[in-house]
Every structure is written in C-alpha cells, then in structure tokens.
C-alpha cells in the first residue's frame, strides 16, 4: 500500500508585508495583533493538516508493514482523541505480533481514554507478562477506580514483573486504599511495594513498616523510608521515628542512607529532622554490621 499524499500547505502572509506605515499607532497595533492571531491560527491549521486522517492512519495500521504500523500507532497516541482509542482497540483485538501489540497498548495509555478500560482490563489477563505490564501501565494513565482495581489485582499476578509494576503504579497514583494489599505484597516478596507504600502510606504505615525491619531486606525497606522522608504531607514525628528506628538498626547501609537523605535536602525546612539525620548518621560507626538484617 502506498503512503497517502501529504496535504497541500497554505502559508500565511507575513504581518510586516501588510503593515501600512501611515496608520495610527493604535490601529497598527490592532492590525498587528489580528495578523499575529491569524498567523498562529494558520500555523495550527498547517500542523493539523500535516497529521494523516483517521482513515489514512487506519490504512497504515492495516498495511502489514511493521515500520508503518509503528508510526501509525505513535501518531494515534499523539492525537489523543477518542477515535484514536477506538482504532487502537480494534487493532489490538485483531491479534498482533507481540511488539506491535505492546506498543498499541502503550499508545492506549498515552491516549488516556476511559473507553480503553474494558480492553485494558482484558489485557491485564493476557497470557504474556509483558502485555499485562503494558496494559496495567496504560490503565494507570487513566484516572478512576477501575484502574485502581486492575492495579491491585496485578499484585496477585503470578509474574513478579507484573506484581512489581502494579506496586509501582499504585504508588505513583497514590492509591491509598491499596496500602494494606501493598503491605501483604511486600511481605510476600514484592520489593517494589516498599517504595509504593512510602509514596502513599500514612503514619500508621510508617509504624507497620518498622515492624518489618529485620524480617525483610533492609535495602528494600530503605526504598520505602526514602519515599516517606521525601514527602511533605507526612508529619515530622513520623519522619523522626523513621530516623530513630534506622538508628537502632545501624550499619553502614543505614549510615549511608541517612547521609544521602540529608544531602538530598529532605530536611531542608525541618531543622529537627536535619539534626536527627545528622546526629544519627554520625553516631553509626563506619563498619558496624546492621543489627536487624534478616537471616538468610
């Protein structure tokens, strides 16, 4: 199939060419403004006219040429219009090779149309983990509870990549209702859940994470603590508690972590926290092993 012809462009006249020097200043200004608006409109129209039509994009999608299909997918993603979502949905449902299928799913996320949710829900149970990851990522771009439900269901998946991505996305979306499930996932071996909890958890979540010290890998929990410390909406008492608990664990990893947090400015506007970070890090010797590393 041939590439469709590019639409003919109609360039807008340059404002200076039309500006009569004899006109009063106010009129000149008015005309100049009008001309600028006109030029901008013409430029927008030009840009718009360069985008292939939906029919043409559909033809590209059906071309069977992988490069052209990929380009069509990207253009559909850029359009961000409902008919783009419809075309992509139909494209995925028609059965595609893995790479194109996954790109199209990602494009659906870029379009962000709620219309795609039913398909994304189906694809969250696709047999390929990569497709499921793509579907969940796309769903996460669509606001609303259905996407939250898909992501929490993703924590139950048999594939660790799907579980990890679900946890990450829940954290990024700030789905606070998912905190209990994220804790279960963390305890069952989904390390990504720690950072997610750090993003959305409250003071109670901080306390619950303390309970996992010594049970889970310290590095995993530090990712969660890092998120907690970086948050402005978490009270200072909880943050100080984190520093205290980590000080009890000690070890070079904690020392390094506390120093990094101080350097990152998490306590820029919290002198007590800054002092606690500094003092605790200082108190931990360089080569003392952590006291609460989980047993192998």
């Amino acid at each position: 199939m041939q590439r469709p012809p590019t639409p003919r462009r109609t360039p807008a006249p340059h404002p200076a060419a039309l500006a009569p020097s004899a006109l009063p200043t106010w009129l000149r200004s008015l005309l100049l403004g009008a001309l600028l608006v006109s030029a901008a409109t013409a430029h927008a129209a030009e840009s718009k006219s360069r985008m292939p039509s939906m029919k043409e994009l559909q033809a590209e999608l059906d071309s069977g040429d992988q490069a052209r299909v990929q380009q069509a997918i990207e253009r559909l993603a850029a359009r961000k219009r409902p008919d783009s979502a419809q075309a992509l949905i139909a494209f995925v449902r028609a059965g595609q090779p893995d790479a194109l299928c996954d790109r199209a799913i990602a494009a659906l996320g870029a379009v962000g149309s709620p219309e795609a949710m039913p398909l994304l829900a189906e694809l969250s149970r696709h047999r390929r983990p990569a497709a499921r990851v793509a579907a969940l990522t796309a769903a996460a771009a669509i606001p609303g509870e259905p996407a939250d439900a898909l992501l929490t269901a993703g924590l139950r998946d048999s594939d660790p990549a799907v579980r990890g991505q679900s946890a990450r996305l829940l954290g990024e979306r700030g789905t606070r209702s998912a905190a209990p499930l994220l804790f279960r996932a963390l305890e069952r071996g989904v390390p990504e859940a720690a950072a997610a909890i750090g993003r959305l958890g409250d003071a109670a979540a901080v306390a619950r994470m303390h309970g996992l010290l010594g049970k889970l890998a310290l590095q995993t929990l530090l990712e969660g603590y890092e998120r907690f410390l970086a948050r402005a909406d978490l009270d200072e008492a909880s943050k100080l508690d984190i520093v205290t608990r980590l000080g009890e664990v000690a070890g070079p990893a904690v020392k390094r972590f506390l120093e990094q947090q101080l350097a990152a400015g998490v306590a820029a506007r919290a002198p007590r926290l800054a002092s606690a970070l500094k003092e605790t890090a200082k108190r931990i010797p360089e080569n003392t092993p952590a006291t609460r590393e989980p047993k192998p």
Binding site: G95, C101, R127, R156, S158, L181, R184, P296
Partner: protein, 806 residues
C-alpha cells in the same frame, strides 16, 4: 484254645494289641511332610462332635502383654482393670511377641522360653529352645502347647511341638516334624496344628494322639483360629470346623470386606506359620480384625456385631459382614495391636493409649493411656480376653461419632505419607458416597499441597466418575492462582473432562473465564477450550472468536497452538452459517501462526456438506506409535527446555537457603502430555508460588500408558557460574545435559512436533502441507469419510470427542 498253642496265640494277640496301641500312640504319619502327601481328610466328624459337645467359652478378662521400642527393650504387662495400668515390666529383649495364657506369660528370649508369672512377672520356668523360633502357643486347662521352628532354614523348616503341664512344667508329649507346622490352637480338648499351609492336624490335647487330619484339596490354609464358638481354618475364606470339613471349598464361608481390595491385602487372621515379631513392624499395624461367629441355625457365619475392622496404622475402617463400609476413624497414634470384641474394637497405640471404639458408629467409648509409665513407645502387643465393650448407662463416649464422610475426609487429608494406601482407600470410599458435598471434599483433597501425586491420581479418577455434586466442581472452577492469597489454580485437568463427561452446561461461563485467564496453565488450556466447545452452544462463539483473534499472532501460542485450534473448531461447530466466514476472516490476512493457519485452512477446505462437525477431530492420525510410557530422558529434556525460568525461581530460593542442593519435584503426567498435582520438596511458599504456575504449563511428550507418577530431581547450583546449567539428575546411562550441550538439536520446521501430534486436530496441520492426504470435513456429514479413523483410541487425548467406532 488249649495248651501252649493257646498261650502262644494269646501272647501273640497281646503283642499285636500292644503293638497296635503303641503304634496308635506313636504313629504320626501326617506330621511327616513326605508321608502325608497322599493323605486325605479324615476324622473331621470327631472334631465336629467334640466341638459340639464343648461347653461355651467363659468371658476372660482383658489383658495386654507388650514389648517396648526403647533402647533397653522391655516386656510390659498392662492390666486394664480397674483402670489401665502397668502391672509389671521386665527388661527382656523378646525374640517374638510374648503370649498371655491365663496365669502365665510366655516370652521367648535368646533360645529360652521364659514362663513368667502373670501377677508378678517373675520367672516360673525356663524351657530351653536353642536354635528355635517361637511360633506361638495355646493353652486349655493345664496344658500348654508350644510350636517352634528350627531357625535359619526357611525352605525346609523342621517344626516341633512341645506340650507341657502349666503347673509342673512336665512335658506331656512332644512331636518333631519335617512338615511345616504353625501356631497351635486348643479347644474342646483338642490341639489344632496348622499343617503345611494345606490344612491342620488335630491332636488330643491330653495324649498328643492324632484325632483328625483336615486337608484342603483346593485351598490354602494359612491359619487356624478359635473364636467365640467355633474353630476356623482358612486364608481368604473361613472354614468352620463345627460343620465338619470335607477338604473342599464347599464348606467355605466369606466374611467381612473383600480383603484383596484392601491396602496390604490383610488376611482375615494372622498367618499361623509366621513368627510374630516383637519389634516394630507392620504386624498388628495393618490388619483385619473380626470375631467370627457360627451362623444361627446352620446359616452362614457372621462377624460379631456384624463388623470387620480394617486397621492401617492409625486409621480404622469398619465394614459389615457384606463388605459395606459403615464408619472410618483416624486415631492420633499408630496402632500396635487391636482386638475385635463384643460391642467394638479395642486398640493399643504405640504410645500406650488404649482406645475402645464402638462397633456401631466408631465413637470413642473410652480412651486411657499408660504412656507415662512406659517411658517410650510400644513395639508390639498381644491382647487377650473376651469381654464385651459397652458404656455404662448414662455415660457419654469420650469422643462422639463422626459421620462416615467426615471420618473418610479426615483420613484422606492426613499428611502422613506412610499412610498413603489408607488415604487412597478413604478417597475411593468418599467417591462412592452419594452425598453431593463429597465432590467438594474430593476437590479439597486434590487441591491440598500435602496431597502427593499418587493420591491426586486416585482423586482425579474418582472425580472423573462422579455425577453427583457437580455444582461443587463448577464452583471449583472459580479457584485461580493468587500470589497474595497463596491459592492455586483450579484442578482444571481433572475438572474439565469430568464436566464434559457429565455434560454440565452450567459450567460454560466459568470455563470461559478460565479460558481467558492467563493463570490457567497452558498445558491444560486445550482441555478447557475443548470443554467450552463441547458444552457450549452458539453463545460461546463470541468469546472463542475473541480469544482466537487476540492470540492468533501472539508468541504465547507459537509453539503450542492446540488451544487456538480447538477454539477455531468451536467457532466452526457453533457458528452456524457465519462460522466459516468468521474463521475465514481470521485466516485470510495471513497473520495467524502457521500451524493455526494450516489448521483453519484444513477446517475450511471444501468437503461434503453433510459431514459431521466433529469429524475434524476424528480423522486418521498419521502419527508414529507412542512410547509406552514417559521416559526419564523425556522428563529431563522438558525441564531442560524451561531451565531459564526455573532458574529465575530458584535464584531467589538459593539466596534465602544457600545450602539447598537439590529440589525434588513429583507430579502426575497424563498421557496427553499435561501434568498436574505438583509436589515440590523442599518448598517454601515463595518458591512454590513461583514454580507452580510454570510447572503446570509444561507439556511433556505424549505416551500410551495412562498416567505416570513422575519424580524428578533438580540439582541446584549457585549463580557463581552463570553459564553453568541447572542440572537435572537422571538415571539414564549418559547424562542428557551433556548430550544436549554437545550437540544442538536441529529441528526441521517442516516436521510435525510432538505437541502438535498430541491432538487429533494436529494431523490436519500436517495434511494441509502434505499432498495425498485428504482434509477432514468440517461440516456436518451423515456419512463419515471412508478414511475416517475411529473417533478415539487409547492414545487420544481425553478431549477427543467420542465418535463412531469402526
């Protein structure tokens, strides 16, 4: 008669009489194995008359004499009245199980038979028996008869019978025989000696003179026992001697369950020819217990309370005289001895717990332990006594009865792998119950991680044949893998065919759900889709088509397109006039996988319009004969093919457990190549969660012989050498991995791989590209093509639809 001649005659006559008398006393032809070959049954009428004239037996108090499994073996006398207690104990390493004979206890110890006082345990007499094995003893009145066998000559045993006075210990008579004699039984002034596994010699207990010779001409006689009112001999059946015995099966009587079908094939009674060990063994732990009673008015014999109890370590099954199961009960500890009594069964646990179970319903009438006084576990025990078990009026049982279903389920769910045969028996019995809930129970057993593959197979077979409670099977379809909840997928390999067999159309929506669920293992997916096709109607076309379209070009099915091919068949079958068009659309743009495209093309090929829709699956399969069973090499090769993903799971486990050297995987491999009921040892939750969905999706080469329980060991290596392969231990001559590593196997893309030939649809794939073979007809036909093969063969996968047989 006068003179010397007369005297001479009298003297001769007297000598002859004396000789005859002496001969009668000393002649024992039947105790000689060689002479007796030609002998036939004689004297049974004497036996019958003596038994008929004998007074009824008086109840004897219960008593137990046991040996311990402690470092210093002991003989322990346990009395049951007024409460169970240890009457005495002696440090004696018994060679065989001691016997309690009224006021004495016989204990064979190091070539000497100790006669101990029952009250005090003190030695009253020592009978030297050097080089002899104690078979057993019997007592009636003051006469004790002991049977022993020469040690170390099992092929030609020489046995000895010694009868002595129970008070003076004077030997009353003694017989040494070349024949194999067994443990004696005393009753009605007679001594019954099992003989050569062919019958019994009956002696007069007072004199040792032979009274009768009872020889079977058509059966094996393994025991002689004296029960409540008769003496019985037999092996699988009982011959009551009070009816007379003519040496044929005519007088044989069956009683209790069909012992042949019970685990361990327990005899009705212990063999009289085998010594009873004093050390822990299956003796007493696997046994049938009953008390045979003479039939009223000459009728068939019955079991006391109409119960025969089958004990398998700590599980008890109670049957009636016709073999129907009435109750089952699981006890906390292994049983070392039991005895059927009036009103129930008395059992001794290896911890010294004495339990009485009610004959009617298995309720625990009473339970008491002498374990605290033992200081260890019991190795063996002998129970004597004939009292009846009964609860005093107004007394509640120690533990109430449970329903048969509950009892069986408890046994089936036991985690003790030693007791697998009993668990399988319980599963089979559960499957026979008409209660719909039993289907759920069976599914529960199947779904347990503690259920080994052998038992899973029994459960699967049971589920396949059940037609009751299928709503539970449908509900079970909802079960799916869940990482957080730790749930496993539904046993679809079992459920789907069972639901198809039962024609359960209610299951279709959930089957579709499972079809679309990525957690459904790829290995069982063709079966699930097949079930959707077989049970569904036009309503399933839409999901089948959506499934087919979505995955037609997806790598998930590139190597195993069977599920998609089956979905295509479903579209064609239920799609009506639209079906071929819809399939053609899937096929036309050439995007589908080659195998799928070929299969669809074959389905759509022009054919006789009246062909049966299912004919597509009944075409002849030009495949090579299947191997009889799944070889270890095939198993190893399959695991090898999935090494990378296995390694991903194992890496995390090795980090937690660096000492983990190997992983044992057991599972049931079906002949169609699918596998289920995986057992992973040692398995943490995380490892199981990671491995299970992967393992369940593996396909093994097909084989002809039903199913196989496979055990496989993976030798684990740390990731220090990332390139080192995950080793699979196999006992084939040459390590397969070394062969595989040396020579990369080249696969001809034109050849039909095994997984395509695994299904009857697969031949369509090959036919499509093979000239000279006719494509099967996808459309209805009342006349099957002449070349059509039988609808299914033993080698077919289970989802092959039934069709006309040649």
């Amino acid at each position: 008669v006068t003179g010397g001649g007369g005297a001479s005659l009298r003297a001769r006559a007297a000598l002859l009489l004396l000789a005859a008398a002496l001969g009668a006393c000393t002649a024992r032809p039947t105790l000689d194995a060689r002479v007796a070959i030609t002998e036939d049954t004689r004297g049974s009428e004497t036996v019958r008359a003596r038994l008929a004239a004998a007074p009824p037996l008086l109840p004897r108090p219960l008593g137990i004499v046991a040996t311990t499994a402690t470092a210093t073996p002991e003989v322990v006398r346990i009395a049951l009245a007024p409460a169970p207690n240890v009457r005495w104990r002696r440090s004696l390493a018994a060679d065989a199980r001691p016997e309690l004979l009224d006021d004495v206890v016989l204990v064979p110890v190091a070539g000497t038979l100790l006669v101990l006082d029952d009250e005090s345990g003190e030695t009253r007499h020592e009978l030297p028996l050097p080089g002899r094995v104690f078979l057993g003893a019997a007592r009636e009145g003051d006469t004790i008869a002991v049977a022993v066998r020469d040690a170390g000559d099992d092929d030609a045993p020489r046995t000895h019978l010694i009868a002595f006075d129970a008070r003076t210990f004077a030997v009353r008579f003694r017989h040494d025989s070349d024949a194999e004699l067994g443990r004696p039984v005393a009753r009605a002034g007679m001594l019954f000696l099992p003989w050569q596994r062919q019958g019994a010699v009956v002696l007069d207990l007072a004199s040792g003179r032979e009274l009768a010779f009872l020889r079977s001409r058509d059966d094996v006689i393994d025991f002689v026992v004296a029960d409540d009112d008769d003496v019985w001999l037999g092996q699988r059946v009982l011959y009551p001697l009070s009816r007379g015995y003519d040496g044929t099966r005519a007088t044989a009587r069956s009683l209790g369950p069909e012992a042949e079908s019970l685990p361990g094939r327990p005899p009705l009674y212990e063999s009289s020819f085998s010594p009873r060990p004093a050390v822990p063994s299956a003796h007493g732990r696997i046994a049938l217990h009953l008390r045979a009673r003479r039939g009223e008015g000459g009728g068939d014999p019955t079991a006391r309370d109409d119960r025969a109890y089958f004990v398998f370590y700590r599980h008890v099954f109670a049957y009636d005289g016709k073999g129907a199961l009435h109750w089952a009960r699981s006890l906390p500890r292994d049983t070392v001895a039991a005895r059927a009594l009036g009103g129930g069964l008395l059992l001794i646990g290896d911890d010294g717990t004495i339990t009485a179970l009610a004959a009617t319903d298995g309720a625990v009438l009473t339970s008491a332990s002498v374990g605290a006084a033992l200081g260890g576990t019991l190795a063996s025990a002998a129970l004597d006594g004939t009292v009846d078990l009964a609860l005093p009026a107004g007394t509640a049982p120690a533990a109430p009865a449970t329903s048969l279903r509950q009892g069986l389920l408890e046994i089936a769910l036991d985690v003790d792998q030693r007791l697998l045969p009993a668990r399988a028996l319980a599963v089979s019995a559960l499957a026979a119950l008409p209660d719909p809930q039993t289907t759920r129970d069976l599914l529960d057993v199947y779904g347990r991680s503690t259920t080994p593959p052998e038992l899973s197979r029994v459960v699967a077979d049971a589920l396949r044949s059940r037609r009751i409670g299928l709503e539970h099977a449908i509900d079970a379809l909802l079960a799916r893998y869940d990482f957080l909840d730790g749930t496993r997928p539904a046993p679809l390999a079992v459920l789907a065919p069972a639901l198809v067999d039962a024609g359960e159309r209610r299951a279709v929506p959930r089957l579709i759900e499972r079809m679309l669920d990525h957690e459904t293992p790829l290995g069982v997916l063709p079966g699930v889709v097949h079930a959707v096709v077989e049970l569904g109607d036009a309503a399933v076309v839409s999901p089948l088509l959506a499934f087919l379209r979505l995955y037609r070009n997806d790598s998930s099915f590139a190597n195993e397109p069977d599920a998609l091919i089956e979905a295509a068949r479903g579209v064609l079958r239920h799609g009506g006039a639209e079906g071929p068009l819809q399939l053609a659309a899937v096929h036309a743009d050439g995007r589908a996988h080659v195998a799928l495209r070929s299969a669809v093309a074959a389905m759509l090929a022009p054919s006789k319009p009246e062909a049966e829709p299912t004919a597509v699956t009944t075409a002849p399969a030009p495949t090579a004969p299947l191997p009889r069973t799944l070889s270890r090499a095939d198993v190893a090769a399959t695991f090898r093919a999935h090494e990378a993903e296995l390694r991903a799971c194992l890496r995390a486990e090795l980090e937690k457990n660096p000492k983990l050297a190997q992983l044992r995987i057991a599972f049931v491999a079906e002949s169609d190549g699918s596998a289920h009921a995986f057992q992973i040892t040692p398995a943490s939750d995380t490892l199981g969660d990671c491995l299970y969905p992967k393992l369940a999706g593996y396909r093994f080469p097909r084989f002809a012989a039903g199913r196989r329980v496979v055990r496989h060991t993976l030798a684990l290596e740390r990731d220090a050498e990332p390139t080192a392969p995950l080793q699979v231990m196999s006992d084939v001559d040459q390590p397969w991995w070394s062969r595989a590593a040396k020579t990369q196997r080249k696969v001809d893309p034109m050849l039909t791989p095994w997984w395509q030939s695994a299904h009857p649809i697969a031949p369509l794939v090959t036919r499509d590209s093979s000239p000279g073979t006719s494509a099967p007809s996808p459309t209805p036909s009342s006349t099957p093509a002449p070349t059509a093969a039988p609808a299914s063969s033993p080698e077919d996968a289970w989802w092959v639809p039934a069709g006309p047989k040649p």
